[in-house]
């Protein structure tokens, strides 16, 4: 890929969720794939959206294994809509979700949803693809 601009990703743990192994591993994957990664640790939707706008990121990735994927996940996308960035950023969520929630996460507006066992190839591939399709970059 001969991109002039590196893909910039903001990563956060959603809410007070405690498990950080997944998000740190993904941060490493994205960095190794040449992306610029901003990891802000635990944060709630307002801080996530605000930081994402300030940093001018292409992608927001949130991680949660704690069951708040629909409540706070929904809030994140709602806020993105209000701030007018829903269509100018790619939204990805990773963690442990019951199967019946996956369609709901799509409805809420996440572009990419990744569970345990997702590989670097899948995640990096998805982000590159989505950035080019959704954002035309």
């Amino acid at each position: 890929m001969s991109e002039e601009k590196r893909i910039k990703v903001l990563l956060a743990k959603l809410g007070v969720e405690v498990h950080w192994r997944g998000v740190i591993t993904v941060a490493g994957m994205l960095r190794d794939a040449g992306m610029e990664v901003v990891y802000i640790g635990n944060a709630f939707p307002p801080e996530i959206i605000e930081t994402a706008i300030q940093e001018g990121v292409d992608v927001i990735g949130v991680s949660t294994l704690g069951g708040n994927h629909l409540t706070l996940g929904g809030e994140l996308l709602e806020l993105a809509k209000q701030k007018g960035v829903k269509d100018s950023m790619v939204f990805v969520i990773g963690g442990v979700f019951p199967p019946y929630d996956i369609p709901k996460l799509k409805d809420v507006g996440f572009d990419g949803i990744f569970g345990p066992g997702a590989t670097q190839e899948e995640i990096v591939g998805f982000i590159k693809d989505a950035v080019s399709k959704k954002l035309g970059k």
Partner: protein
Amino acid sequence: MSEEKTTKQILQEAEEKRKAERVPLYNPEALKQIKEKFDQWYNTKLREEDRKNWFVTPQTILGSEIPRGLLYTPLDVADLDYMQDIGFSGDEPYTRGIHPNMYRGRLFTVRQLAGFGGPEDTNERIKFLLAHGATGINIVFDLPTIQMYDSDDPMARGQVGWCGVAMDTVKDWEILFDGIPIDKISVSLVTHYPTNTAILFAMYLVMAERRGIPWDKLIGTVQNDIIMEEVVRSGAEYLPPKWVFKNQCDNIEFIRKNVPRWNFITYNGYNLREAGTSGVTEMAVAFTNAIDTLKELTGRGHDVDWICERLAFFWDPSMDFFEEVCRLRAARRLWYKIMKHQFNAKSPRSMWMRCHVQTSGISLTREEPLNNIVRAAYEALAAVLGGAQSMHVDSYDEAYSVPTEAAALVSVRTQQIIQAETGVTEVVDPLGGSFYVEWLTNEIEGRILDEIDEMQRLGGIVKVIETGWIHKKIADYAYKEQRKIEEGIIKIAGLNYFRAADVKLPEIDVFRYPEGVEERQRKKLQKIREERDNKEVQARLDELTRAARRGEPIIEYCIECARAMCTEGEMFKALKEAWGTWRPPAYW
């Protein structure tokens, strides 16, 4: 710091002194003959490629990467001294087990985790597990409770009652244990952190008091581990490590004095390892923490045997079967040596490495989830062959959600099958004496001690936390492991090894959370805030802040707060005011 001897130096000196007393198990004549025959066999019977690849490093989930030879013989343990290195069960050096009759005397406790929704919901699950033969209960808390926010705190929204039970005040504790005989069954409260232990255990004690049960009748465990508070979790707000470490020690002191049958600390290797580290590092970190705790408490003038009466560890058996068996043997022997030589313990109980184990969650897959039953069963078996005291078996559906009742039952049955159907519990330490097992036990013990030494040279447990050294170590391990899975170096059946051409997620029953928990908790809190004496509440909280600032043991003040119906979040806030907050250094 540099003046002080490290544990490794102390143990080496002790070993040096006993060297002359060593009685080798194998006679030199026999060893000589074996060596001759071995060379012959090696050069004539073995294929060239096997000679070249004599050592192979098992690539397993959460493995320690210890290379293994093709065959083990007496030559690998040539200087074995039976009495010094292995001995009898219930006898020094406790390699074979802490009790003489081990599982014949007492089977390992089938101790399943329970916790979801509100206390009303979890109370029902506890009763279900007890009715099906669970012999102990582990209570897990939801994330806001673990992270010390009330259910009506903006920080808690959307997360109340998930992953554990929501607990805000003493009122919730009364509901949670309603109808459960807490003076008869052992209750493990998975209060991971020293800070939430001081708050939540205080509420437990007040609940017992209100039920008229004296504290000396209570049996159970809290976790109370700084590693959980400062390393393993991702949190929005952390308290500074030196205060948390002090609080860990203060909690021990208080509980030992006032709740004499309660296990006041469980050094939690489990979650550290799940976050990403080997079985060796898991134990080395827990031991380094334990050593520093004992140094602090003996420094306060306590007798080491008085403290160690109630100290326990929590380990994570993963997939490398023999490594897991040997790790428990190695840790028992090493702990014995530390207690004997570094702390001059006299009581056998102090020298016992007692442990609870939980099978590895990270080794489970979302693909073909029934395979997870097999994985957990091997892990559980390894822990039993290694001599664990109590166990939780992870359920096969944990890559989807909190376990369903059906899946939790399979976990209980897995343990009962080992106990009643396989016969393995009849013979103590059945793998002891195997050349391989004894060699690997020695190897692992040496590696744990080396890592303890490394951390002590870096300044001890608080230092390696403050500098982010541990955080980085596990982040690097986790990343490397993920790469190995993706590259197929670590093989996982159904995931990257013989993966089905078309992996479809199966139709499994998944746990559905009770509805309306957040609302219910919020209403309860609102009512409590209206009905309690809010002047009293503020006074107790102010006292807590002042006591924390002065460096007094906070748990005593938390009990006063709990009596006044202060909430968990209010107490946490009082502590933040006193100690300020801390952020771990960036670790990736």
